[in-house]
């Protein structure tokens, strides 16, 4: 009989520890999950084969496709946006010329919050953290020269997502594209806005109704579009643990599926187009386990809770972005190394698309050079490292499997807690996920300050260094001026009768139970602005103010 763990612990290990104790009493992940000294077959679940299965088959632990990167690499999708639509269009063309395979749009804060560039609320923010888009006219410039039937585009917008999707589809129609062929993703995950990222337009209940309107419309008219990207990224950035990121994100997914089913949609008619978006943080194995657990957890919920029948409905397809909050302003070159490790965890975790952060992002918007290194990081992993040659290469590792099991179990416990609060919308109103994140974030800050967690260059290995001044700076005043002029010209030129009729029809559908999306499309074609449309929605549904829980 072979030796068991206990015998090893009492024999070889014990006598060794007597002479040479370990460096710490307790070893934990970044999220403070305790980690055992050694993992063996004993820690891996009883139903091991059933739990991990085969790639492309339920429960999809090993991947959503039968060939994974042997068939098709992940999409290299760098998030970009700043200044005027012209500025960002230039960056998009640059990224495509460098071998990027999909586009991802960052909008500036006024657009994210439903204000135009000329609003007093927008002062100082225009074009700074993303691109200024005020109307369909800006969308036309943003994607000029980019064939929307061929390149998939992702748009990071949530509160006013329905407005920007209407602009995008109106632009595609103007480009004479067949909407049935237009593919892409809009983030549109409002629940995590109330939990973490805080860009919202209206309160949670009407926001959910607008999301369901979009999912319903897309499932009928834009079948290749992913009308929602359920996002854990921002939950993690706000300071959650890995398990909280997994749990709250999947719980958000459950809430959207519930809402669509309540609308009367058949689960298999929309679930295949739900997609996910996760963070890749520093703790390598914890992250790999998180992605694997996410796939299994979602598959099981879709099959068991919602009775999905199509395999496509059970697949958790996801985008990953490396963790912005893990990057340091100190010794920014170290961020290249951090991003490389994080990107590798995403790839070994089986992501469908990936954004790698640039080393200078804690200082300002990334420069072209920094963006290039970030994209090259993905290309080196894809084409040089060899990790793409086989599927799910970490499967069967006692540690990775045990950690995957544990994360699934702990996330499920959170989901059950949220169920008991009445589902995610109610849990948010009670402040439950928000408070859990505050506590985790505060705990981590304390660990850093006590040096229980080390960040190189920040609380250890500190050097004197000169600040980096080679930063991309956006002249917000200049962008404001240009966008204001464009808005003035647009308002003088457009057919104001169409504008008024469009906004009135939107108000009527928003006030009834009619799907608002066709009216949004009409508003887009009439060149109504983001703020004009947002004001109609705010007028009908009210505004939301965060409860300021700390």
């Amino acid at each position: 009989m072979t030796k068991n763990l206990k015998e090893w612990e009492e024999g070889t290990l014990k006598s060794f520890l007597a002479k040479a104790p370990e460096s710490q009493k307790e070893f934990t992940t970044l999220s403070s999950e305790p980690i055992e000294r050694l993992y063996t077959a004993d820690q891996v679940g009883q139903n091991h084969q059933e739990d991990i299965g085969f790639p492309g088959e339920y429960p999809f632990t090993r991947g959503v496709y039968p060939t994974m990167y042997r068939g098709k690499l992940w999409t290299m999708r760098q998030f970009a946006g700043f200044g005027t639509p012209e500025d960002t269009n230039t960056r998009f063309h640059y990224l495509l010329s460098q071998g990027q395979t999909g586009l991802s749009t960052a909008f500036h804060f006024p657009t994210l919050m439903g204000y135009d560039s000329d609003s007093p609320r927008s002062r100082g923010e225009v074009g700074v953290c993303g691109v200024a888009v005020d109307s369909l006219a800006d969308m036309e410039i943003l994607f000029k020269g980019i064939p929307l039937e061929k390149v998939t585009v992702s748009m990071t917008i949530n509160g006013p997502a329905s407005i920007l999707l209407a602009f995008y589809l109106a632009n595609a129609e103007k480009q004479k594209c067949d909407l049935k062929k237009v593919g892409g993703t809009i983030q549109n995950d409002v629940l995590k806005e109330y939990i973490a990222q805080n860009s919202y337009l209206v309160p949670p209940d009407p926001a959910m109704r607008i999301v369901v309107d979009m999912i319903e419309y897309c499932s009928q008219h834009v079948p290749k579009w992913n009308p929602i990207s359920i996002s854990g990224y921002h939950i993690r950035e706000a300071g959650s643990t890995a398990v909280q990121e997994l749990a709250f994100t999947i719980a958000d997914g459950v809430a959207y599926v519930d809402a669509c089913i309540k609308r009367g949609l058949d689960v298999d008619s929309f679930a295949p187009r739900l997609s996910y978006f996760f963070n890749a943080h520093m703790d390598f194995f914890e992250e790999v386990a998180k992605y694997r657990a996410a796939r299994r957890l979602w598959a099981r919920l879709m099959k068991e809770r919602f009775g999905a029948k199509k395999a496509e409905s059970m697949k958790c397809r996801f985008h990953v972005q490396t963790a912005g909050c893990s990057l340091t302003a100190q010794q920014p070159e170290n961020n290249i190394i951090r991003t490389t490790l994080q990107a590798l965890s995403a790839v070994l975790g089986g992501c469908q698309s990936l954004h790698t952060n640039s080393m200078d992002e804690t200082l300002a918007l990334p420069t072209e050079k920094a963006v290039q290194i970030a994209l090259r990081t993905q290309q080196v992993i894809a084409f040089e490292s060899g990790v793409t040659n086989t599927i799910d290469p970490l499967a069967g590792s006692y540690f990775v499997e045990a950690l995957t099991d544990k994360m699934e179990k702990e996330a499920m416990a959170y989901i059950e807690k949220i169920d008991s609060l009445g589902g995610m919308v109610e849990a948010i109103k009670k402040g439950f996920p928000q408070m859990e994140i505050v506590l985790a974030s505060h705990k981590y800050q304390n660990q850093l300050e006590k040096k229980e967690k080390i960040v190189v260059g920040v609380n250890e290995f500190i050097t004197d260094e000169k600040p980096n001044t080679d930063l991309l700076k956006v002249d917000s005043e200049a962008v404001t001026k240009k966008q204001t002029e464009r808005l003035n010209a647009l308002k003088a030129k457009r057919d104001s009768e169409k504008v008024n009729a469009g906004l009135a029809a939107l108000k009527a559908s928003a006030s009834s139970k009619t799907n608002i999306f066709p009216d949004l499309l009409a508003c887009a074609h009439a060149y109504c602005t983001v703020e004009e449309i947002s004001n109609v929605l705010r007028g009908v549904f009210g505004e939301y103010h965060d409860p300021g829980i700390y």
Binding site: G124, E125, V128, C129, E193, A364, S441, Q445, P547, Y550
Partner: protein, 133 residues
């Protein structure tokens, strides 16, 4: 007994990154100060109104959107207009090193950037903020 310092933690502008603001609010509360957190998406007018109504001794502004060069001076100008220029204004967020001097010239007492130790922030407040008369 000395009067407890009252500090407003404010989030001006449209950005929703509140991790830092919440950590500071909690840290200052734990350090024994009376903390008022404004919540998100405040205009400079809203922040100054709250500061006056709540009779605070200092305002800590958190900005991660890059709009600091407009928002910090806007708050300071409004404090002056309301004869409350003795309220100490400090701030934090993603603020490039070479823009800090300009903000201090505008009247921002101190800027804390990513990686700042919360204990240093508390120490700074202890020696730089006094109760207003």
């Amino acid at each position: 007994m000395q009067k407890k310092l009252r500090i407003l933690i404010g989030k001006p502008g449209l950005d929703g990154h509140d991790r830092g603001a919440k950590i500071i609010a909690r840290t200052l509360r734990d350090a024994g100060y009376e903390v008022i957190y404004s919540g998100l998406h405040q205009t400079p007018e809203m922040i100054v109104n709250t500061a006056i109504q709540e009779d605070v001794d200092a305002i800590g502004l958190s900005i991660l959107s890059g709009a600091h060069n407009y928002l910090f001076p806007a708050v300071i100008k409004l404090l002056k207009a309301n004869k409350a220029e003795d309220v100490v204004v400090f701030g934090g967020g993603i603020i490039p090193e070479d823009e800090i001097a300009g903000l201090k010239k505008e009247g921002v007492a101190e800027i804390f950037t990513p990686g700042a130790d919360t204990r240093d922030i508390v120490k700074w407040i202890e020696s730089n903020v006094q109760p207003r008369i």
